[in-house]
């Protein structure tokens, strides 16, 4: 019979080394006595452990071991060793046999540890103390059933990484200084953790969120057993809440149903309906204070031109230069549009110019900001703004430049080159043509000249329709 002594607590390392050694020696579980807690950590076996080769186990077994070593059951190592032994001796899929007594027992230990971890995540409460180094320091006292202090650490570090905090328990302690995690020895319950005003506020919240008409302390205790109460400030209120509940409900039931008071603030109720922006300027202010719905963008670029313009021209989205200046169609594509309008004999000043998407979507590459086309979903985010805008302008014709504008206006994907020309939009007479940036991208001089002539012809046709 061999005796193996592991460190107090969850000694995953020690157990792993022991298992390697035992597996190498083919020592059966019946021949091993596990014990915990002698100060000499691994006794005389320690050096030999280093020599065992890693043992190959299914992942699920490894995970189960990691949890079960945290359990406070003194038999945990013996049970785990029996599991490993059987898995290594032909029962690779042992863990699938949930009805096997050993597996069943280990599953229960596993569940208990998980529950303990979960309850510590949930029921631990920090109190804020002034930090001598400035700011606040957060301290908590908690009493877990199992050796889970290290197992809960990642959760608290991730959640409260920007805070300085200490967690004290009878099974060990943790301290986080915003950079490093330090583990410490078991702690004693601190004499007093002064409650700050937030603890008081929390108590009030807890009392107020309770519905006395549904009192059910059994259900509460099933999820939040009494043993946790001592460390949760809000539980102090429970007895009084339960005691007072029946009387509160009785009072509600006995109170004569109130005759609806005829409180009819007619003016306020009528005013409530007039919430939509009541002018184009109002709408633009609203767009400007809103968050971009595409990544990038320094500012929203509103439309420009007279209300009541006969033609509204809708582009895709502002570009680099538009984003800097806050005005539509001032970049290279805008200049091309201006030139084409001139050629077609249309006065740019008489048009209303705007974009389907009000923000410049781009990715930064070094110093350059590279234009990104908005996705169909992003275009839809902006649709209500565009439609409301056109509602103020009331043009006779809406010209969509390019596929994005056509999608925004018609609500469906449009193939510009195939469908260019007149098109009925949602509530508007419309016309589809290419976006001037398309002309800029054409490679050959000749091709470009022809496309530009077609674009000018489109603009003429549109003007004639309006």
């Amino acid at each position: 019979m061999r005796t193996i002594t592991l460190r107090e607590g969850a000694d995953l390392d020690g157990f792993r080394r022991a298992v390697r050694r035992l597996a190498a020696a083919r020592t059966a579980p019946e021949a091993v006595l596990w014990s915990v807690g002698a100060p000499s950590l691994f006794g005389d076996e320690a050096p030999a452990f280093e020599n065992g080769a890693p043992v190959l186990l299914p992942q699920a077994v490894g995970r189960l071991i990691e949890t079960v070593v945290c359990h406070s059951d003194p038999e945990r190592y013996a049970l785990l060793h029996r599991l490993v032994w059987r898995v290594l001796n032909g029962e690779r899929a042992l863990l699938d046999q949930h009805a096997d007594p050993l597996v069943h027992r280990l599953e229960r230990l596993d569940k208990a540890v998980r529950r303990d971890i979960h309850k510590m995540h949930a029921f631990l409460r920090f109190r804020a103390l002034p930090d001598p180094a400035g700011g606040e320091r957060y301290v908590a006292w908690f009493e877990p059933d199992h050796h889970i202090v290290e197992a809960v650490a990642p959760f608290f570090v991730e959640r409260f990484e920007s805070m300085v905090w200490t967690i004290l328990t009878p099974k060990g302690s943790l301290h986080w200084d915003r950079h490093r995690l330090m583990t410490g020895p078991p702690a004693e319950r601190p004499d007093s953790l002064a409650d700050d005003r937030f603890a008081e506020g929390w108590l009030r919240y807890y009392e107020s969120t309770f519905n006395p008409a549904r009192v059910n302390p059994t259900a509460m205790r099933a999820e939040m057993p009494r043993k946790f109460w001592a460390n949760m400030p809000e539980t102090a209120a429970i007895p009084a809440m339960v005691r007072a509940a029946p009387a509160r409900v009785q009072a509600m039931l006995e109170a004569e149903a109130a005759i609806p008071r005829r409180r009819m603030p007619e003016k306020a109720v009528a005013a409530m309906a007039r919430q939509a922006p009541d002018s184009l300027a109002d709408l633009n202010r609203l767009i400007q204070r809103s968050e971009p719905l595409v990544p990038g963008a320094t500012q929203a670029v509103p439309g420009e031109g007279p209300e009541g313009a006969a033609i509204a021209i809708v582009g895709e989205q502002p570009g680099d230069q538009e984003d800097r200046e806050g005005r539509p169609f001032v970049g290279p594509a805008g200049q091309l549009l201006t030139a084409a309008l001139e050629e077609a004999g249309i006065d740019r000043g008489g048009l209303y110019l705007t974009n389907a998407v009000k923000h410049f979507k781009f990715v930064q590459r070094g110093k350059r900001r590279i234009h990104q086309s908005p996705t169909a979903g992003e275009v839809k985010h902006y649709r209500w703004w565009l439609m409301t805008e056109l509602g103020f302008v009331r043009p006779r014709l809406v010209v969509a430049l390019g596929a994005t504008a056509a999608l925004a206006l018609s609500g469906r994907p449009v193939s510009v080159l195939r469908e260019r020309g007149p098109m009925a939009f949602d509530g508007w007479d419309g016309f589809v043509t290419v976006h001037p940036s398309y002309l800029l991208r054409l490679p050959g001089e000749e091709e470009r000249r022809r496309a530009q002539a077609e674009f000018v012809a489109d603009l003429r046709r549109a003007a004639a329709l309006a």
Binding site: D96, Q97, A99, A122, E161, Y205, S208, E223, E291, W384
Partner: protein
């Protein structure tokens, strides 16, 4: 935090407690890092339980309980005499961060009465969420209860910051909505649900963030005369058509300052419980509304037994089921066997022929399942499923859920 703020917190938490939803689940795992605050874990955590057995996970408050609407079932309607209060945006932010840092909550559930206009109210709520996320790097959970009468652009903005948006339908039929909530409109509410659903689906496809934990709604049960069947039909439609994550059922609860239009006596809480069980069967167990309703009488669920057992008792010819042979679908229909137990059975029976002793280790509901199944060493004696007193034998007397 001063006395005045604590006082307001009392009023505005009290006014928010009738909303049943509390879940903080469904968000993708993320964290605020060194500069921000908080994390979401996916599953959500209940940080406390109140003596009504409900979980405290989010700070559930109203921005204000002033309201211009007059929904009779609601304690905040304009004609009620309750004390009123109103938070500023900054106050809600302060409370959320303060409680979060003490590990009291997973995040915020913010709702509101309607002040000035639906747009104004919704914008204030959206600003709370935006301030938390943008100015404080808050990575905890945010659930915003959308005001359906607000302009669509506010929904588009709210979805950028919230993990979940909800729009309460409150009453299962248009008819009761008209009678009890004169300013509301079923069509408007469903249109917004449609808008939210579309955006969520698009954002998911395009890998953008928009209300990543989906949308939910609440139905009040027992304020009007709708049957359980019609409530479940409404839920079924909501799940299918608007991709809702959850429908919450809230048994109409007596409120102080009740309107005389309402029933004086609340429905038994058990009704709400049965609806949740039925909803579960609808979503995870492959039952149809028709099948569930057939377990009860006149469109109402049997309050004494759970809907799965009720269905089984009316369909006895389909039992007993052989646990060593039956397919997953049929095993799921055995009363007492949950989805988890069924999956364990399926995996365990590949290695061995299951006996009753094995089943006892795989399921906690064996006492109830016993008459409905066959194991290697067990066959229900004398056609137990034909016995008339079967229902009696399986009902666990449970009175603790109803106070009345």
């Amino acid at each position: 935090m001063d006395d005045a703020l604590i006082e307001k917190l009392g009023i505005l938490a009290d006014a928010a407690k009738y909303d049943a939803s509390c879940a903080s689940s469904g968000a993708k795992p993320r964290s605020g890092g060194k500069e921000g605050l908080g994390s979401t874990t996916g599953a959500g955590i209940c940080h406390a339980y109140t003596p009504d057995g409900r979980c405290v996970s989010l700070l559930k408050i109203l921005l204000t309980n002033h309201c211009l609407f007059d929904c009779v079932y609601c304690i905040n309607r304009r004609s009620s005499n309750v004390r009123r209060a109103r938070f500023t945006v900054a106050e809600v932010v302060e409370l959320t961060l303060g409680f979060y840092k003490r590990n009291c909550i997973e995040g915020l559930f913010l709702s509101s009465g309607i002040i000035r206009s639906p747009d104004h109210t919704m914008e204030q709520m959206m600003l709370v969420a935006r301030t938390l996320r943008r100015d404080h790097g808050f990575a905890g959970y945010i659930h915003l209860k959308t005001i359906p009468e607000a302009s669509p652009w506010l929904i588009e903005q709210a979805g950028l910051w919230a993990d979940r948006l909800s729009i309460n339908l409150e009453l299962p039929t248009d008819h009761s909505l008209k009678a009890f909530a004169p300013e509301k409109n079923g069509g408007t509410i469903k249109a917004v649900m449609g808008q939210v659903n579309e955006r969520i689906v698009e954002a998911k496809e395009e890998r953008r963030r928009f209300s990543p934990a989906g949308q939910s709604t609440q139905l009040i049960v027992g304020a009007d005369d709708a049957t359980d069947r019609s409530v479940l039909e409404t839920s079924g439609t909501l799940y299918q058509r608007y991709g809702l994550r959850r429908v919450y059922y809230s048994a109409f609860s007596p409120i102080p300052e009740a309107s005389s239009v309402l029933p004086v006596k609340p429905p038994p809480l058990q009704r709400e419980n049965r609806l949740y069980q039925a909803d579960w069967l609808l979503r995870y167990y492959g039952f149809t509304v028709e099948e569930i309703a057939s377990g009860g009488e006149g469109g109402m669920l049997d309050l004494g037994i759970d809907p799965k057992l009720a269905w089984a008792l009316k369909n006895r010819e389909r039992f007993p089921v052989d646990v060593n042979r039956a397919d997953r679908e049929m095993l799921l229909r055995v009363p007492g066997l949950g989805a988890r137990a069924v999956d364990k059975i399926l995996s365990a029976r590949r290695h061995t022929r299951l006996r009753m002793e094995d089943l006892g280790r795989l399921s906690n509901g064996l006492r109830r399942a016993r008459p409905f199944l066959i194991a290697a060493d067990y066959h229900p004696a004398g056609g137990l499923t034909d016995r008339l007193d079967l229902r009696q034998r399986l009902v666990t007397p449970s009175s603790q859920l109803s106070l009345f």
